[in-house]
Structures are given as structure tokens and as C-alpha cells.
């Protein structure tokens, strides 16, 4: 009997060991946590001190970096040369400063100022020297400048001349904190001293403050104890105050507890997995229980991976309560879908394994009806996922957009697969399709009836099935059940490679169903969102605007703007003030096109910030008369975009003294709506809201007045509204869907109206070409993923030492088959050029696009330069010097050239069409040092560089512009919009190239497979035919199917086969003749021997009869005895020949060899010579199917041979033994043996080593054995001979 496979024991041991490890870890973790909890109060102060020490270390590092950089700059040879006025030294200094800054990890902003504080050279974002007045001097110093938005650490070093006289100051600046209240993918606030840790507060002390040191922090509301410290510069000056709260026990124990839980969860899952995958007879129950436990464990302990902050665990990405706690995150959905798939698979396997006859029509109808809830459930699950997911699930790309996308799309694929299996299990209840045509017709009718009823009566609002995918899923599920016995047999006979191919094909089919399903539900959700959410948002926009303005006024009231800044403070302090006010109100929170202006008591605007609301006027607004809010409406000039603004203003007076005024403007537009895609690329920097649109559904908003005049459009090419449509909108005020040409392509548009205007919300209609391309990409992407998973399975099975479906088996299959080798070689050869082409094309196009963008920008910059110079000249005609209001001119010129513009003079910003980027501190109001050096110092005609705002980087084209006679100015054109266009084109190009590459590889693979088969088919046929020839079928021939070299191979083979056949026929004939001749010779020889005594006896009788003297009676008796004896001998010879020539036995019956051999051997026991011993070893052995008589004859022959061999003395052993599906009769003697030459011929007919005998004995034994499907073997030597007769056991013979 065979024992349990060793793998089963290994799996059991592993499972047990892992379970023990999990338990021990849990116990150890609990003890550790208890210990830490008991130590927590004592450790709290320790941890607070550690936090504080970390802050101090960070500060020391920053101070050291700033001081070191300032020191380097102060001692550069180029610095002294530049300050000395050497020709070319200034340009070299700029270059050196850039190099020094880039070589420093902290990248401090560097500057060289001449006394009294005029900047000569710089690199990076340096503070305006006016802000340093009275603070920075020719001495070594470190201090902080704390603005409303940006806090900067500044280090200064004196630049000393050869005589030790101070010539200037070198500064190095590092931003230590930013507070913009903006959080998006590009920007976020930070504080480098406080870091990311909670419980650390830092208050920076501005060097310009005259306030003496006081307690920086108020008492904590909860009365908790905290550590406070003052952070000082090397010279003792105060830089900041820091307060550190002690960490709560949860802060300490939480991560530790989470870490233990994850380890225990991981070990537990591995233990369950090992237990589940054991190969046992009751594997179905084990798999179901194991899968359920594997799903339950992460619910209790949490998953071991990924990290807690992963998007795979984030409900922000996906979460649903439809299945309770089972779908609270993308990972939950994946685990649940795997679990459901396993259970569905078991259900299907169970249903499919039971053979049923075709069900009656009524039963089949009920079965078909029963599929509807399952079908509805599957698609309801997909619909629910689509409705509760923030991602664009329809984007199933070759390269997944993110891990979360991948996990969710795989999960939905598994849901479809599980649904298909459940449907298949239900359909199996109907049995296979009847073979009769009438039965098939009835089945088809039932299915059609159910389908029609479903799609007519289905509650569309509830679920709304996508038609094609639903039908496809049902058909896919119905296929296995329709022809069940056939596919089961076919599947069982296939190797693992074919099964893997079937799995991949199934994945591809499911992917082709998934994509249209997601598009269907995406479309449905989008329309509902537009009708029921976006349209009402548009309608309520005026009220919303007024509401937010009201709240903004209330917010500004509590800010006490300007209260703490006495008049006369350095103006640069105020530059960020308007932005600080704006960003602290809901105007920023909700992204309104708006502006905040701060006036001084004289009415001058000292600070302004505006989002999408350019300043186009020259004179400031009049000072408000009251410190109560006054709100009204202003009209915007056409240069500013036209339209109206809500304008609220009030005086800022404190304690009876007027400190200034504040104006708030909110424009009448819709750019703040979260679903509108703005045209301005920089607006993404201010938005803290993500777009609610998808890649395939960017929304555009159109607004028209009652005269069909366009009021607002977020599209570049809005359509004109026809009178017919206008009338229809009036009649259907709540809205209706139509198709309009927006931005030059047909778009689904929802038209609706309110009392003021008509609106349209439009998104692009997906064309058939785009749909097909995306469908193919989805199928290819998910199939590729399945291929990767399959490869992973191969790796795992290889690691587990499995023989089938492992890497070695794959390699063997590939190398062992010419077709696969050829196919693999074709694909490998195709991949390399495709990948190279992909990289080359992409690189070429990207370079080309960038180059074109730069050329286009420089051309437009040249046009803008001319316009700016003319404008400045025109303005100068009215008054000398650069006039205020250049911003308004730039806004107009920017609209002409289609790009934003900035103008710098003497290195500082003097005008911009995008002031808010500078007023908010996002951009620095000083031209980059590289541009200044190239254009002003080196007089280059143009330069294109790269700038960045947080993570948002863009190209900038700059040209010199003549503003006055003193020095050339610089006109810069940031290419953010163009860059976005280029990036969008490149993204589309990437997708197209990837898809084309994938399709090309698939086509190459298909072609390779076809060619490989055509090449290898004739070789395979020749191989098979050769095998048949080796088995003796020489009549086989191979059909010639090609006309190339393979035809010669086939012809040669066929000729060879024909020759072999002819030669065999000749050989058989000559063998037959030889056999006849031999037999005739033997017969003659055998017969001749008895004939001689017969003849002699007869002659003797005649002689005696003639001679009357001899006793005739006695002679007659003797001679007749001799004659009869010889006749008996002749008869025996004839009998032997007859037995040898007899056809195979036809009466086979189960024979008990133990009994048979005993019966044959027993008689010999009484007639043995005295020196001969006969031993019988006859254990119980399996029965054999045999003709008893023949079998007895064979055994007798073997025993007789042995008796003749031993002669008068020896031992003969007759033994029975059982082998692999056979039984052996062994007759062994200790006679002299048979020499090797005779041994080779003992089984030939008529061969004998004895003087007596026909020579047919062993030949007969061999024939009898072979007729029974067995054989005989002889092993002989000087010590004896062993003859083994073996026959197949009766059970093995039956299987055969």
C-alpha cells in the first residue's frame, strides 16, 4: 500500500508552526503593551524632551547650513571681483552663486548686497533688501523674518575688502515655514522645525519686532503640562519659541499595537493558507472553510499589509456598506471578491460534477428564471462599486493608473467571474442541452422568453443592466453546462499549459465584459450627477456667491486687519497681507474669482491679491466712508474680461483711529464650481478641490442670456444656441439632454434654465473608435496582468518543488517542442524592436513638441516685447519713468499673445498679468539669476528656463525688453498652459504607443504561432509516423502539404517506409520459407528416428516368419512392442507439433495459481529420484485470467526441464510471487545450467540441448505465456537455472 504524500505532512507541520508563532506573538505583544502602558506616565516627559531635542537639532542643522552658505559666498573670489567692478566679474558671480546653491543639499537662496543694501547678484528666492533694512548689517548674524505666509531663516556675513573694510553683505536664506492654507497635489503648508509630528508648536520671532521677549504661548485649555523652550541664534538672539506637548499613551502604544496586530494577522493568514491548501480527500469543505477564515481574519485583526495610510485601505478611494464590513476599502473589496469567487467555484464544481439528464421544459424554465436574481446581484454589486468609488474606474490601461485602480478593477473582474460561476451552477441544474432538435428549440424559446421578460420588466432605476455584457455573461456561463460531458472529457485530457491558456482566454473575455459595464454605470452616474447635483449648483451660484461674501465679511471682521501694524511699517510686510486675508476666508476655500485690496489711510492700495480678477485700472478705489460694510455691484471693463463683480468694502478703524480700508470683490462667474475644468493652468495651484470629472468626461459649462448671448463658457469653442433650442429649454425648464458641438466635437449636453439664464453642461460623446480602442486596451491590460499572475504561480509552484505547472516544466515544454520554441523566438525578436521604437518615438515626439513650444513661445515673446516697448514708450510720453498701471497693459497684451507675461526691471518685478502668483508668495518678485545674467549681463537674445511652484514645474521663455535707458528689462513668458497641452498630447501618445505595441505583439504572436505550426506540422507528422513504424506499422505514410524543403523530407520518409515494408515482406517470406524448411527438417529428423526401429522390427518379423526354426510368437511380441512404442513416440511428436501450432487460447477464466501449481507439482513428489528434492513455495497471489490446460502444460514443461537438468541429484524449487500487476511462476534448479550460446536459443522451436525431446518444450511455454499477455525468461549459470513465467494479474488485465 502507498503511504501519505510527504507534501501533506509538510503543509500540516507548517500550518501548525505558523499558528503557534501567531499565538506566541499575540501573547508577547499583549505583555509588551501592558509593560509600555505601565511605563507611559514616566516615559511621557522623556518623550517630550526627545521631541524638543529633535526640534533643536533641526534648527541647528538649518542654522549651520545657512551660515556655511553665507560664509562661502562672502569669501568667493568672484564676490570681491564683482564688488570691485571688474569687467565680466558680475556675470561670473551669478554663475558661481548658482553653482554654490545647487551644490548645497538645502539649496539656500544666496545674495550679494552692496552697502547700503542694494542687491548685486543673487540665486534663488531672496528677500527684498528693503525688508532687511535696519536688521542686516555687515556682521555675522542669524535671524528670522516671519511674514504672513512665509517665514525665512536668514544668515548674513560681511564681505570684507583687502583692507578689512566692509564692502557688502552676503546672505543665505532658507524658508522654514509656509502657511498658505492651500493643500493640493502641488502645494502644501509646512514647518520645518515643527515637522509632521503633532504636539509641537513653534512661534517664530521676527527680527523686526520690537516687542520684548514674553511668554509666547498661552496656557493650554486642558491644563496639560508641556515643555517650552526658546530657540536662539549662535549670538544669543531669539529665533523662535517652541512648546512640546507630551505624547498621549495612544501616540506611543497605538503604533506598537498596530505593529503586533499586523504580525499576528500575517502569521495567522499564512497558517490558514497552509491549512487550506493541504491535499486531503475532503478538500472542498477544507477550501470553503479556509477561504472563509482567510476572509474573516483581516476583519478581526486588520490586514498585515499594506501600511495603514495606504490608499488600498482608504475609504476615500472606495467604500460601501452594501455588504456590511466586507467592503470598507479597496483591499476589502478584493479579499471579499476572492472569497466569493472561491465559494462560487466550489458551487460550480459541485454542480458540474453531477451528471444529469436534460431537464424537462418546465424545470428548465424555472432554472432560467432563477438566474435573474444572480445576474442582477452581480451587476448591482458592480453598480454599487461604481457609485461609491472616487476613481475613474473606466480607465483600464495597459499600465495601471495606480495600485488602487488595479485592485478595484481586478476585484470587479473577480466579481464578474464569480457571477458567471454561480450562473453556471444554476444552469447546470437544467442539465445538458437535449440532442433532439425539438428539445433544443423548446430550450431556446424558454431562454428567449425569460430574457425578454427580464429586459422589459427589470427595474431600471434600481439596477439597470448593461445589455450586452449581461447577455455575454449568461452565454459564457451557459457554455460549460450545455455540452458538459464533452468539455469535461476534453478538459481532463489537456495538459496544464492548455488549462492556463483557457484561463487567460476567460480573463480576456471577462475584461471585454467589464469595460462596457463600467462605461455603462459611469455614464449613468455622470448623468445623474449632472442632472441632480451640478445643475442645481449652477442655478444656486448667485445665492452662493452672496452667501460666501456675507461669511467672508464676518470672517474679515474678526481678523482685525491692520490693527497690529502701525502705519509706517516697511511696505514689503504688507505684500503678503492681502493674500493672507484672502486665503483665510471662504473665497479661497471655495475658489471664487475674487480679490482683496488693503488700503492705507491715504487711500493707496498697499496690498492686493486677486484670483482670476486682474487689475485693469490705474487709480485706486475711493476710501470707504464707514466702518460698516457696504456692498454693491460694479461692472468690469472689457479689458478685465467684462461682467460684474460684487464689491464689499469698509473702513478699518481701531480705537477711533483709521488704519486703512479693505475691499472685497467677487466676480460673477462660475470658475469656482468644483466640476468645471479651468483653462488657466495656474488655477490648480489655488484649488483645494479635486475635479469631479473623469478623464473621459471633462465637463464644460455654458451660460446664455435670454437673447442667446453667451454669458459664460468654460469651453474654448462654445456653440451658438439656436432659436429652436431656446424655445425647447423654455418649455422644459427642468432640463433635457441633447447633443451639441462644443470645442469642435459632439458632446452630450444637459440644457436647463432658471429665471436669469440658460445653461448647458456638456461632456464629450465617446465615439465608436475611442470605445473600441479603450475596449481593446482594457482586454489587453487585464490579460497581461493575468499573465503576470500566472508567472507568479509558476514561480511559487517551482519553489514548492511541484513538477507540473512550474518553471522547469514550462522550460521543458518550450525547449521540448519545436513549435513553442519557434513561437517564443518570434515573439522575443518582435519585442525588442517594439520597445526600442516605443522609446525612440516617444522621445522624438516629446523633444519635437518641446522644441516647437519653445520656438512658438520665443516668437510670441518677440511680439509681446514689441508691444510692451511701444506701450512703455506711449506711457512715457505722458510722464517720465515707468508708470503704474503697467499691469493693465500687460493683461491686455497677454490676451493678444495668448500667454501670461511678467516684466522685471533691475531684477525686480514691475508688472505682471498674473499678479496673484506673486502677491501670494507662490512666485518670487525677482527674476531668476540665470535669466538676469544671460539677458542683461551677457546680452543674449533669449533664454528658455524651468521654474517651479511646489511640485508644479513649467518652462519660462525670457527676452530682454527696453524699458528705459538705464538697463534692459526682462520680459518673461511662463508656458504653463502650453506645457499642459504638450503633457496632454504626450499622455495620449504614450497610451496610443502602448496600445499599438501591445496589438503589434499580439499580432506578431499570432503570426508566429501560425507559422510555427505550419513549419512544425510536417515534422510532427513525420515523427508520429516514425513512431508508428517503430511499433511495426510499416503501411503508414505522411501526406505532403507543402512544396518546400519539407516536401523532400516527406517524400524521403515515404520512400523509406515503402522500402521497409517491402523488405519486411521479403524477410517474412524468406523467414517463413526458412521456418518451413527447418520445421520440415525437424519433422523429418524426429520422424526418421522412430521409423528406423519400426522398419527394423518389420524386417525382423518377416525374416523370422520365413525362418521356421525361430520362435515366431516371441519375436512377434517383441517387434510389435517396438513398433507400437515408436508409433507412440511419433504420436507424441505430432501432439507437440500440434500444440505449438494451435491458435491462442480462447477460454480464459480466472485461475488460482496457488491451487493450479500445487495440482501440477504434487504428482512429481511421489516419483522423484532419491537424490532429488522438489520444493513448492506457493503463497497467496492474485488470480490470473488463463486457459487452465495450457497453463498446466507450461508449468509441466518447466518442471520437466528442471528435472532433466538436475538428473539424479539436486533441488528444484517451484515458487509463486506477485509483482507490479503481475504474477510470476519461478522454477529454479541447481543443475549444471545452460551455456550462454544455448541460452540465447532455448526458446526457439526445435532447439534442444538434450538428446531426447522435440525441442518444442520451452518454445511452447513461451508461446503459451505470450498468448496470455505475459512472458518467460531464463536465467542460467553454472550454479543452476531459473525460469520465470509471468502473467498479468486479472485486475490489471481488466484495466487494460
Amino acid at each position: 500500500m502507498r503511504g501519505s504524500p510527504p507534501g501533506r505532512h509538510t503543509a500540516a507541520a507548517s500550518s501548525f508552526a505558523l499558528a503557534v508563532a501567531a499565538t506566541l506573538t499575540a501573547v508577547a505583544g499583549a505583555a509588551h503593551l501592558r509593560l509600555e502602558a505601565s511605563r507611559a506616565p514616566m516615559a511621557a516627559e522623556e518623550r517630550s524632551r526627545a521631541r524638543l531635542a529633535a526640534v533643536e537639532v533641526r534648527l541647528r542643522r538649518l542654522v549651520l547650513a545657512a551660515e556655511s552658505a553665507a560664509g562661502r559666498v562672502a569669501t568667493l573670489p568672484e564676490t570681491l571681483s564683482a564688488l570691485a567692478g571688474e569687467p565680466g566679474a558680475l556675470a561670473r558671480l551669478f554663475a558661481t552663486l548658482d553653482a554654490v546653491r545647487l551644490s548645497d543639499d538645502e539649496r539656500p537662496a544666496l545674495a550679494v548686497h552692496v552697502l547700503p543694501l542694494a542687491t548685486r547678484a543673487w540665486s534663488g528666492r531672496i528677500t527684498d533688501p528693503r525688508a532687511l533694512q535696519g536688521i542686516a548689517g555687515p556682521k555675522r548674524d542669524v535671524f528670522v523674518l516671519a511674514g504672513s505666509v512665509t517665514t525665512t531663516l536668514v544668515a548674513t556675513r560681511p564681505i570684507l575688502g583687502p583692507d578689512g573694510r566692509p564692502l557688502g553683505i552676503a546672505t543665505a536664506e532658507l524658508p522654514v515655514a509656509i502657511r498658505r492654507n492651500i493643500r493640493n497635489e502641488y502645494l502644501s503648508d509646512f514647518d520645518r522645525l515643527a515637522g509632521e509630528q503633532a504636539g509641537v508648536e513653534v512661534r517664530y520671532v521676527d527680527a523686526r519686532d520690537d516687542v520684548p521677549e514674553a511668554r509666547a504661548f498661552p496656557d493650554l485649555a486642558d491644563g496639560a503640562a508641556a515643555l517650552e523652550e526658546t530657540l536662539r541664534a549662535p549670538d544669543g538672539g531669539t529665533l523662535a519659541h517652541v512648546r512640546v506637548r507630551p505624547p498621549s499613551p495612544e501616540d506611543t502604544l497605538g503604533p506598537l499595537s498596530a505593529a503586533y496586530r499586523r504580525v499576528v494577522s500575517g502569521l495567522g493568514l499564512l497558517a490558514l493558507l497552509a491549512w487550506t491548501l493541504r491535499d486531503t480527500p475532503r478538500w472542498r469543505l477544507r477550501l470553503a472553510a479556509g477561504a472563509t477564515a482567510l476572509r474573516a481574519l483581516p476583519l478581526l485583526l486588520g490586514p498585515p499589509v499594506p501600511a495603514a495610510d495606504s490608499r488600498l485601505l482608504s475609504a476615500d478611494v472606495y467604500a460601501s456598506t452594501a455588504l456590511g464590513p466586507l467592503t470598507r476599502s479597496p483591499l476589502d473589496l478584493l479579499l471579499t471578491s476572492v472569497w466569493v469567487l472561491v465559494l462560487a467555484g466550489l458551487l460550480f464544481e459541485r454542480a458540474a460534477s453531477r451528471l444529469r439528464p436534460p431537464a424537462r421544459p418546465a424545470v428548465a424554465l424555472v432554472v432560467y428564471l432563477a438566474t435573474l436574481p444572480a445576474l442582477g446581484g452581480v451587476f448591482a454589486w458592480v453598480a454599487d462599486t461604481s457609485a461609491n468609488c472616487s476613481l475613474d474606474l473606466e480607465s483600464i490601461a495597459l499600465v495601471p493608473a495606480s495600485a488602487a485602480h488595479l485592485v478595484l478593477q481586478i476585484s470587479l473582474l473577480l466579481v464578474l467571474a464569480a457571477g458567471g460561476l454561480v450562473l453556471g451552477a444554476i444552469l447546470c441544474l437544467a442539465g445538458p442541452v437535449p440532442t433532439a432538435a425539438s428539445g433544443r428549440l423548446v430550450r431556446l424559446g424558454s431562454a428567449t422568453l425569460v430574457a425578454l421578460a427580464a429586459f422589459r420588466l427589470w427595474p431600471r432605476d434600481l439596477i439597470g443592466l448593461p445589455l450586452v455584457p449581461a447577455v455575454a455573461l449568461v452565454l459564457l456561463a451557459a457554455l460549460p453546462g450545455a455540452g458538459r460531458p464533452a468539455w469535461q472529457d476534453r478538459l481532463g485530457s489537456r495538459g496544464p499549459g492548455a488549462l492556463a491558456g483557457l484561463a487567460l482566454a476567460t480573463v480576456a473575455l471577462l475584461a471585454l465584459m467589464l469595460y462596457p459595464t463600467l462605461v455603462h454605470y459611469g455614464e449613468k452616474n455622470a448623468r445623474q450627477q449632472i442632472e441632480h447635483d451640478h445643475a442645481p449648483l449652477v442655478r444656486r451660484q448667485p445665492q452662493w456667491r452672496e452667501y460666501v461674501l456675507r461669511e467672508t465679511r464676518q470672517r474679515i471682521d474678526v481678523l482685525n486687519v491692520l490693527e497690529d501694524l502701525p502705519w509706517g511699517s516697511a511696505p514689503p510686510l504688507l505684500e503678503e497681507l492681502a493674500f493672507a486675508v484672502w486665503s483665510s476666508t471662504d473665497l479661497a476655500a471655495f475658489g471664487f474669482s475674487s480679490a482683496v485690496e488693503i488700503q492705507d489711510p491715504a487711500g493707496s492700495v498697499v496690498s492686493r491679491f486677486a484670483l482670476n480678477l486682474p487689475a485693469v485700472g490705474g487709480s485706486p478705489p475711493p476710501l470707504p466712508q464707514s466702518d460698516e460694510w457696504v456692498t454693491g455691484r460694479d461692472d468690469l471693463p472689457a479689458a478685465g474680461g467684462g461682467g460684474q463683480v460684487l464689491h464689499a468694502r469698509r473702513l478699518l478703524s481701531y480705537h477711533g483711529e483709521v488704519h486703512g480700508a479693505v475691499h472685497v470683490y467677487v466676480k460673477d462667474d462660475f470658475w469656482n464650481l468644483p466640476f468645471i475644468r479651468p483653462r488657466d493652468p495656474y488655477s490648480v495651484l489655488y484649488r483645494t478641490s479635486t475635479l469631479g470629472t473623469t478623464r473621459s468626461r471633462p465637463l464644460a459649462l455654458l451660460a446664455y442670456d435670454r437673447s442667446r448671448r453667451l454669458l459664460f463658457s468654460s469651453a474654448e469653442q462654445p456653440p451658438a444656441l439656436s432659436a429652436t433650442l431656446l424655445e425647447r429649454v423654455r418649455r422644459h425648464g427642468e432640463g433635457f439632454w441633447t447633443t451639441l458641438a462644443v470645442d469642435g466635437r459632439p458632446q452630450h449636453t444637459f440644457l436647463f434654465a432658471d429665471s436669469h439664464a440658460l445653461y448647458g453642461l456638456a461632456y464629450p460623446r465617446m465615439g465608436a473608435g475611442r470605445f473600441t480602442a479603450d475596449l481593446v486596451e482594457a482586454g489587453a491590460g487585464l490579460t497581461l496582468l493575468a499573465l503576470v499572475v500566472l508567472f507568479g504561480v509558476l514561480l511559487v509552484r517551482t519553489a514548492l518543488g511541484r513538477a507540473r505547472l512550474s518553471l522547469p516544466s514550462l522550460l521543458e515544454a518550450v525547449t521540448g517542442r519545436f513549435t513553442l520554441r519557434l513561437f517564443a523566438a518570434f515573439v522575443a525578436v518582435a519585442i525588442v524592436p517594439v520597445l526600442v521604437l516605443q522609446v525612440v518615438v516617444r522621445g522624438f515626439v516629446a523633444d519635437r513638441l518641446r522644441s516647437e513650444a519653445e520656438s512658438d513661445a520665443l516668437e510670441r515673446a518677440a511680439v509681446a516685447k514689441k508691444a510692451v516697448e511701444d506701450y512703455v514708450l506711449y506711457q512715457r510720453g505722458e510722464a517720465p519713468g515707468l508708470q503704474p498701471g503697467l499691469d493693465a497693459g500687460l493683461v491686455y497684451i497677454a490676451s493678444l499673445v495668448g500667454n501670461d507675461l511678467d516684466v522685471f526691471h533691475h531684477g525686480r518685478l514691475v508688472a505682471s498679468s498674473k499678479r496673484e502668483l506673486y502677491d501670494s508668495g507662490l512666485l518670487h518678485p525677482r527674476v531668476p539669476g540665470t535669466a538676469f545674467r544671460s539677458l542683461v549681463l551677457d546680452s543674449q537674445p533669449a533664454i528658455v528656463g524651468t521654474e517651479g511652484i511646489g511640485g508644479f514645474s513649467y518652462l519660462v521663455a525670457s527676452v530682454p525688453v527696453r524699458l528705459d535707458a538705464s538697463e534692459a528689462g526682462i520680459l518673461s513668458m511662463p508656458l504653463g498652459l502650453r506645457q499642459k497641452e504638450v503633457e496632454a498630447v504626450l499622455e495620449d501618445l504614450d497610451r496610443t504607443i502602448r496600445l499599438a505595441s501591445a496589438l503589434f505583439l499580439v499580432a506578431a504572436g499570432a503570426l508566429a504561432h501560425s507559422m510555427a505550426r505550419r513549419i512544425s506540422e510536417p515534422i510532427r507528422e513525420v515523427t508520429a509516423a516514425t513512431r508508428r513504424i517503430a511499433e511495426g506499422d510499416l503501411a503508414i505514410r505522411v501526406a505532403a502539404t507543402s512544396r518546400d524543403e519539407l516536401l523532400a523530407l516527406v517524400d524521403s520518409f515515404n520512400r523509406m517506409a515503402a522500402d521497409l515494408e517491402r523488405q519486411r515482406a521479403d524477410l517474412e517470406r524468406s523467414n517463413r520459407l526458412a521456418a518451413w524448411a527447418e520445421m520440415a527438417r525437424q519433422v523429418a529428423h524426429e520422424v526418421k528416428n522412430p521409423l528406423t526401429p519400426i522398419q527394423l522390427s518389420a524386417e525382423h518379423l518377416r525374416r523370422v516368419y520365413r525362418d521356421r526354426d525361430v520362435d515366431f510368437a516371441a519375436t512377434l511380441e517383441a517387434c510389435t512392442e517396438t513398433i507400437l512404442k515408436q508409433v507412440r513416440t511419433l504420436r507424441g511428436i505430432v501432439t507437440e507439433f500440434s500444440a505449438f501450432a494451435r491458435p491462442p487460447a480462447t477460454r480464459l477464466e480466472p485461475q488460482d495459481l496457488q491451487e493450479l501449481v500445487s495440482v501440477v507439482v504434487r504428482p512429481y513428489g511421489t516419483a522423484l529420484p532419491p537424490g532429488v528434492r522438489l520444493v513448492l513455495e506457493a503463497p497467496d497471489v492474485p488470480q490470473v485470467n488463463a486457459d487452465r490446460r495450457l497453463l498446466e502444460r507450461a508449468v509441466v514443461n518447466l518442471v520437466e526441464n528442471a528435472l532433466q537438468a538436475v538428473g539424479e541429484r539436486g533441488t528444484i524449487t517451484v515458487r509463486l510471487q506477485a509483482g507490479d500487476d503481475r504474477v510470476e511462476v519461478v522454477v529454479e534448479d541447481d543443475g549444471p545450467g545452460v551455456d550462454a550460446e544455448a541460452r540465447a536459443r532455448v526458446f526457439e522451436p526445435f532447439f534442444s540441448t538434450k538428446t531426447a525431446g522435440s525441442g518444442l518444450g520451452l518454445a511452447l511455454v513461451k508461446k503459451i505465456a505470450e498468448d496470455h499477455g505475459g512472458g518467460v525468461a531464463l536465467d542460467s549459470g553454472p550454479g543452476g537455472t531459473r525460469a520465470t513465467l509471468w502473467l498479468p494479474a486479472a485486475s490489471a488485465a481488466q484495466r487494460l
Binding site: E185, A387, R540, G617, D635, Y665, S689
Partner: protein, 149 residues
């Protein structure tokens, strides 16, 4: 800024035209606001879900959201608020009824003040939420929750 020769007549009036219905909210709206308050105070995300728009996604902007503001389904928001309520114990939540504004047709704005702690004995944070509610067949449902500055 705007007083240039090109600027048209500036219409300055003492107060903006009335765009809202002011006064106590109508009963259905008042009931809904009560339920929202109850849900926040008790930290019951399932109850809060019943106040959310059911047929469309809800736009939510809270600093707790790691990915930033976005549009979420009702089921998603139930789970998300479950996490938020679990992490931050609500000490106080109230919607100022006097500040509720109803614009016609069927849109209301309300502000809630949310006081919560990050730990049982940790510091309190105060957040102002602006709710936009939309009337659906006589019932008011939240279509937007935004964190105000």
C-alpha cells in the same frame, strides 16, 4: 482698482439685494438640521448617511481627507465619517439656526460648529462646516459639506 475711465457706473447700495429667505427654517429643513446635529453629536455615521443625497455623489471638503476634497457616494461617506467619528470624539456640534439661508428654488446653506478632540485628553479643534442642502421631493438632503476658513 476698478475706477478707471473705462469703468462703468458703480452701483453702490447700502446692502445687497435680498437673495435668501430669512427667518426660522421651514419644518422639513429644521427637522433635517436636527438630525444632522444628532448624528454628529452621537458620532453615528449611519444616521448621517440618511441625511445625505441618495441619488448623487456628495461633495465633501474636510481636512481629514488624505486625498483632499472630492465627490463621494453615500456608502463611502458613511464609512469615512465612521472613521472620523471614531478618531475624533465630538464634544460639541451645533448648527446656528439664525445663520441658515434658503434660496429658491430648493437650496439651503447652513453652518455648523464642530468641536472635537483627537484623543480623550488631547487638544480640542474647532471646525466650521458649511452644509449645502437640496430639496428632494419635500425632503432636504445634504449635497455638499465644506470646511470653511
Amino acid at each position: 482698482m476698478l475706477s478707471t475711465p473705462l469703468l462703468a457706473l458703480s452701483l453702490a447700495v447700502p446692502a445687497a439685494p435680498r437673495a435668501f429667505d430669512e427667518g426660522p427654517p421651514e419644518p422639513a429643513l429644521a427637522t433635517r438640521l436636527d438630525r444632522i446635529e444628532t448624528a454628529f453629536r452621537s458620532g453615528d455615521a449611519a444616521s448621517l448617511r440618511l441625511s445625505l443625497a441618495s441619488s448623487t455623489k456628495v461633495h465633501v471638503d474636510l481636512p481629514d481627507l488624505p486625498d483632499g476634497p472630492g465627490s463621494y457616494g453615500a456608502g463611502q461617506l458613511q464609512v469615512m465619517f465612521g472613521h472620523i467619528f471614531g478618531a475624533f470624539g465630538t464634544r460639541e456640534f451645533s448648527i446656528h439656526r439664525d445663520g441658515v439661508r434658503v434660496s429658491r428654488p430648493g437650496t439651503a446653506f447652513a453652518r455648523g460648529r464642530w468641536v472635537r478632540r483627537s484623543q480623550p485628553d488631547g487638544p480640542e479643534t474647532v471646525q466650521v462646516l458649511t452644509f449645502t442642502l437640496r430639496e428632494e421631493k419635500g425632503d432636504w438632503r445634504i449635497s455638499e459639506i465644506r470646511s470653511s476658513r
